[in-house]
């Protein structure tokens, strides 16, 4: 079974890139970007995860099967989030549901 040998320099490069991205996350934390706060934090996290998966977990040099496993995992995560959103995005978010006043007044009436 062949193993691709990765130069230690690649590992150090990825490691320092991860440190830099962690720094970027920290710095960005000091600025209020409004609705982009979560988006930016998640985008940096995804970049870091991708680097770890490709280099530290050797997916870049591996055969089709581990890649398929990885894609399967991502697909299942998409199922979890996507189908939960089927409910979340279509749910009625009424902070003061209609009908509550009538119910309480009808209780008080006698």
């Amino acid at each position: 079974m062949k193993h691709h040998v990765i130069h230690p320099g690649t590992y150090f490069l990825v490691f320092f890139t991860l440190l830099i991205l962690t720094g970027v996350t920290t710095v960005v934390g000091f600025y209020d970007l409004g609705r982009w706060n979560t988006v930016v934090a998640l985008a940096i996290a995804v970049c870091k995860a991708t680097l770890v998966v490709l280099f530290f977990m050797h997916l870049r040099y591996s055969s089709a099967l581990p890649r398929l496993v990885m894609l399967g995992g991502l697909f299942w995560l998409a199922l979890l989030i996507g189908l939960t959103l089927v409910d979340n995005l279509t749910r009625v978010w009424d902070s003061n549901p209609r009908g509550w006043e009538t119910t309480s007044s009808s209780v008080q009436r006698p």
Partner: protein, 544 residues
Amino acid sequence: MSTLSVEEPEQAESRVHYLNVHYGVKSWLLTTDHKRIALLYLASITLFFLVGGSAAVLIRMNLLTPTGLLVEPATYNKLFSIHGIVMVFFFLIPSIPAVLGNFLVPLMIGARDLAFPKLNLLSWYVYIVGGLFTLYAVIAGGVDTGWTFYAPYSSTYSNTHVMAAALGVFITGFSSILTGLNFIVTIHKMRAPGMTWFRLPLFIWAMYATSVIFILGTPVIGITILLIALERAAHLGIFNPALGGDPLLFQHLFWFYSHPAVYIMILPAMGVESELITCFSKKRIFGYSFVAMSSLAIALLGFLVWAHHMFVAGVSMYAGMVFSILSYLVAVPSSVKVFNWTATLYKGSISYEAPMLYGMGFIGLFSMGGVTGMFLASLGMDVHVHDTYFVIAHFHYIMVGGAVMAYLGGIHFWWPKISGRMYPEGWARFSALIIFLGFNLTFFPQYILGYLGMPRRYPVYPPEFQVLNVMSTAGASILGVGYLIPLIYLIWSMRYGPVASSNPWGAKGLEWQAPSPPPTDNFEETPVVTAQAYDYPSREVEVA
């Protein structure tokens, strides 16, 4: 009835096999032999079955009278919680995969062991540690959240031992993940020469599909339980609306694992069923590839149906419709299996040894559980019977009528291979029969009770429901006796049962080519597979 071929006792006892190769507690606790680890699991899950079963006995005793015979309502809450937690997470989920799967996967594919033997032993220890946490929760005073741990009750309000019980479930999850990983790698990489994917026994396909669920679903329940712990300990607002959380998010995350967990229980049972039906009708399975692929289809579709547990919890009407339709879809591969098993019986040389009795019971009970599941998948009907005994009856027909029947059928079928001894056939048939009768008497009245409106998890009920409740408790007593009989005679048979030959059933499959019990390395020479699975001679050929 087929005749049993029996090995000379002296011959079997002089041979070195996995049971007599080493003696002493240490040789068991440090073993990396998949067969010994299977037996460690067998002993452990039997212990947990007795704990969960004791809680069930007390629940049914309490429901003998409309006002509750035995315990306070708060204690009743703890009884059904511990029954559910122990039976689901510590008995049913590991039952067939960790016992029969561990024992049989390498034997069936012609391997010497699983791919990661040490990881296999670790999975047992992880399971035991998780189990100890849960047992601590029971002994320290119990937990009252139900096995579903619904938030914000579990994360905020319950003052019972939620953390210990939840941590137990969290830790045990890693055991499932390790087992799933081990099976997937083993099935991919360690098949004997000639054992192509479509020559695999259907039990292996079922274990493969189950392992996929183990790996993809279990992390989600782990994360969900951690979030409960965070909300409980650090008051982070995740599920509690008072803290800005969403309680339905908990239910989405919980059921994303816990609905597929039902398929973790039933898929291995279906795998066992395929082995039983083919062996005791001496026929190749009808539609091998359809049965194999339907296992994978169930594993996938099982992940798309979870919100049918939440139809009346406040999910949107649109989501309700989507999940209702998807829930109907999962019935298709399940039906493919049931029809194909039935078609396999057609013109088969059927014999009714005890494993086959369990197998036949499985088809009927699983079908009833499945069809009532269709009732619950429909939006309108579910509103009427949601959280009633109808649901309790439905999932017990699947989990007990399906999974436990197949587990017992499998244990009997492979007992000669596991122990090297035959069990007493008469007692086994008798207990299979009374388990079937006791089970139906326990749970069929619950369908009616639920349809009439008796809610689940209540310690009291209106007097008009008493007759059906007494019937159910009477059935549970019969069922309890039915479970104790095999426990006694299987232990007896390990010492006193007639010595079994390597293939007492005349079954196909590599595990029957190994001696009973097999040596530590399973096969003296790596087998070479040249034929399809279930390669039984056709009757026409036999006649000719």
